[in-house]
């Protein structure tokens, strides 16, 4: 659906059902150079089982108008502004990669409004190598191929996403190229990488998060290494789920991510959280 957020048109996929603000809300936040379509199976599943779902396109990405926002903090504020617009007080925040940092920051900025925090394919800090930043700046299509290759752990993830017969490498590459082309004001890939690289408030943010938190990690992730999550896990007192996938977690292991997400959303607050 289209909504106006911070005076710009924004898009959120609602899982194949009209959005109902009265239902428990789940917000899905995509990663760098992606859009809502990385979440559609999960979003459909939750939307058809009692949730109000908003899988957003971040500002300046694909269906949401620009300008792009400069950092994780601004994007976190945008998420709450979007929820204000649709009349949602509390929501579960689910983010992948760059989106996971946005979800974390959002959960820390308005902790009373975050019902659950789920960080998928994440690490902190999410530093991007100088070489990759340079390639993203100088040759974004080449950088897309590099990231695409590093993000997939296999040439035969089954049952594939969103359905059998899909070549995940090709789908991911085409999506990144499309999102990059959709933003004509700047090099979006470089921008998104810089947003990830620059975020320095992760542990402070984690300390402020008041809701139950989970990490869903690809055991073969080479972009955001699972071993780089220990401080975050401790700070969040997070439940960690590991699934057989690379960084493209939702595409390579959709059923396992769904199962982990359901458990995350159903988890009860623990003492001190």
């Amino acid at each position: 659906m289209k909504i106006t957020v911070q005076n710009q048109e924004a898009y959120a996929y609602t899982g194949g059902k009209p959005f109902d603000a009265a239902l428990p809300c789940v917000v899905f936040i995509h990663g760098a150079l992606n859009d809502h379509s990385v979440w559609t199976l999960l979003a459909r599943s939750l939307a058809h089982h009692g949730h109000g779902v908003l899988a957003v396109d971040l500002p300046g990405h694909q269906r949401s108008a620009g300008p792009v926002l400069p950092d994780v903090e601004a994007l976190a504020d945008w998420v709450w502004a979007l929820l204000d617009t649709v009349g949602v007080q509390q929501a579960a925040l689910v983010g992948h990669s760059m989106g996971s940092l946005i979800a974390l920051e959002a959960a820390s900025r308005q902790p009373e409004r975050a019902r659950r925090l789920v960080m998928v394919g994440t690490a902190y800090p999410m530093k991007v190598s100088e070489a990759l930043l340079n390639t993203a700046r100088e040759a974004p299509l080449q950088a897309i191929d590099m990231v695409n290759s590093f993000s997939h752990s296999t040439w035969a993830a089954k049952p594939s996403y969103p359905c059998p017969g899909t070549w995940l490498h090709g789908g991911s590459r085409a999506l990144m190229r499309r999102v990059q082309a959709s933003q004509t004001q700047l090099n979006l890939f470089e921008h998104d990488f810089k947003v990830c690289d620059a975020y320095a408030n992760g542990l402070e943010a984690a300390a402020k998060v008041a809701c139950p938190s989970s990490l869903i990690l690809g055991e073969r992730d080479q972009m955001t290494l699972p071993r780089h999550t220990s401080a975050l896990t401790t700070a969040l007192k997070a439940q960690v789920y590991t699934v057989p996938a690379g960084h493209a977690v939702m595409a390579e292991a959709p059923d396992q991510v769904l199962a982990a997400l359901r458990r995350s959303l159903a988890s009860q607050p623990t003492s001190g959280s």
């Binding site: 194949g16 059998p164 070549w167 490498h169 090709g170």
Partner: protein, 434 residues
């Protein structure tokens, strides 16, 4: 597994879409001859039908063996996915009907396989889909033929049987300027000789019966989507693609472009065309084609080497009027072929025999290695007389548009020793000359 770049063609041809079977350890892709697949629970069943989860339900819609073939073809073409079909003709039908219905119009190259021409000119016209045919090299004609209701441009990478080289960069640019996709039949070139998506095409289909299988054992087709065409942007401009950009009552009111930014076309094709028309591929066929694809690169290399040698031999023969192979400098599209097909121009081409129809008949019947039959792309060499067989339903004017004459002979050069093929042709030419 991951590296800095995508793996090469031969690696993908062996591995893309397949891994050792997790249950049995079988290294080769298992053949899943099962019409249907057991649901884990009632909720799982509902989720599969509602596209909340991915998986196999019924083999008309998808099958584990067939999916390996589809994913491998998408990998080799550089696309986002593929749909295997019962034949190349079924792939063409699926490609068209996913976008077109009554009142739609197609602009097509006139240099087509006879069956494709028939589908467009006669059969689809019965269902209200019109086609305007143009000479593939006449770019102004392509542009002029586009109408307000045109939804698709279509051509063969190498026009059958004259081997007109489709100028994909130019035709696709023109199509995109008009907000239209370009569909190409890449059967004669295969992704080893040319990757149409890299040149600007949006959709590719193959008769997998030919080089992909390579052994003349099965009939099949496959439709591949680049994922590059922006259906939403085009629809916002001219409103021609409601099938992908507006709710579809036939499948949960799904808006396919919302569901998948780059896979919308294939979702609609699978959820509607494959489901309702039902021209699916047998998993057994998919399994056999997978065996062929494993050696596609090696075979195509030999095919084009042999074809070039045979074409050069025929060029010097007194009984031969014309050899229509773009690998020869005499072909009108030779320069374009060198640019768009640097690895070779395939191994199917035609030549014109001098003399009467009777001499043509003697030529074909004198061949010992070449088999006289209606197929191309086999590992064995093949021969046919198009005017009396594949293109027999076309009148003289339509034949002329495709560059076929009454003495035209079409060869499909196989993997035999090139010297033996040349000896066979020498003997047949002598027989024809008597």
């Amino acid at each position: 597994m991951p590296g800095h770049s995508d793996p090469g063609f031969d690696t993908l041809a062996l591995h893309a879409g397949a891994a050792p079977d997790p249950t049995t350890g079988a290294r080769v892709t298992p053949l899943h001859l099962s019409t249907s697949f057991v649901f884990e629970s009632a909720d799982h069943a509902a989720a599969l039908f509602n596209m909340e989860r991915a998986g196999h339900v019924y083999s008309r819609l998808s099958n584990p063996t067939t999916a390996v073939f589809e994913e491998r073809m998408a990998a080799l073409e550089g696309g986002v996915g593929a749909i295997a079909t019962a034949s190349g003709q079924a792939a063409l039908h699926l490609a068209i009907t996913t976008l077109c219905g009554t009142g739609s119009h197609i602009v097509s190259s006139g240099a087509l396989y006879g069956g494709s021409h028939n589908l467009l000119h006669y059969t689809l016209a019965r269902f209200g889909i019109e086609t305007t045919f143009v000479k593939p090299g006449d770019i102004d004609a392509w542009r002029a033929a586009i109408r307000p209701n045109t939804k698709l441009l279509f051509g063969e990478t190498l026009g059958n049987p004259g081997l007109d080289v489709l100028d994909i960069p130019t035709v696709s640019s023109m199509a995109h300027e008009a907000g239209l996709p370009l569909l190409v039949d890449s059967t004669l070139t295969t992704p080893w000789l040319q990757k149409p998506f890299e040149l600007g095409a949006d959709l590719v289909y193959h008769s997998a019966t030919k080089f992909l299988s390579g052994h003349g054992t099965v009939v099949g087709g496959v439709l591949v989507d680049s994922g590059a065409f922006d259906w939403d942007a085009a629809h916002a401009r001219h409103g021609k693609f409601p099938e992908l950009c507006e709710p579809y009552a036939g499948f949960h009111d799904m808006v396919f472009t919302e569901e998948s930014t780059v896979g919308a076309y294939l979702l609609r094709a699978r959820r509607e065309g494959l489901r309702d028309f039902g021209a699916c591929m047998s998993p057994h066929t998919a399994w056999l084609i997978l065996q062929g694809i494993e050696t596609l690169g090696l075979r195509m290399q030999r095919h084009v080497q042999n074809a070039q040698k045979v074409a050069e031999f025929l060029t010097g023969q007194p009984m031969v009027n014309r050899v229509g192979y773009p690998g020869l400098a005499t072909h009108r599209d030779h320069a374009l072929a060198q640019k768009l097909l640097p690895r070779g121009c395939g191994s199917v081409f035609s030549f014109d025999l001098k003399g009467s129809r009777e001499q043509g008949k003697r030529f074909i019947e004198a061949l010992k290695i070449f088999s006289h039959l209606a197929n191309v792309g086999d590992c064995r060499s093949l021969v046919i007389h198009p005017a009396s067989t594949t293109h027999s339903r076309m009148d003289d004017a339509a034949l002329a548009l495709t560059g076929i004459g009454p003495g035209t002979i079409r060869l499909s050069i196989g993997l035999e020793d090139a010297d033996d093929l040349i000896d066979d042709l020498k003997r047949a030419l002598k027989a024809a000359a008597k």
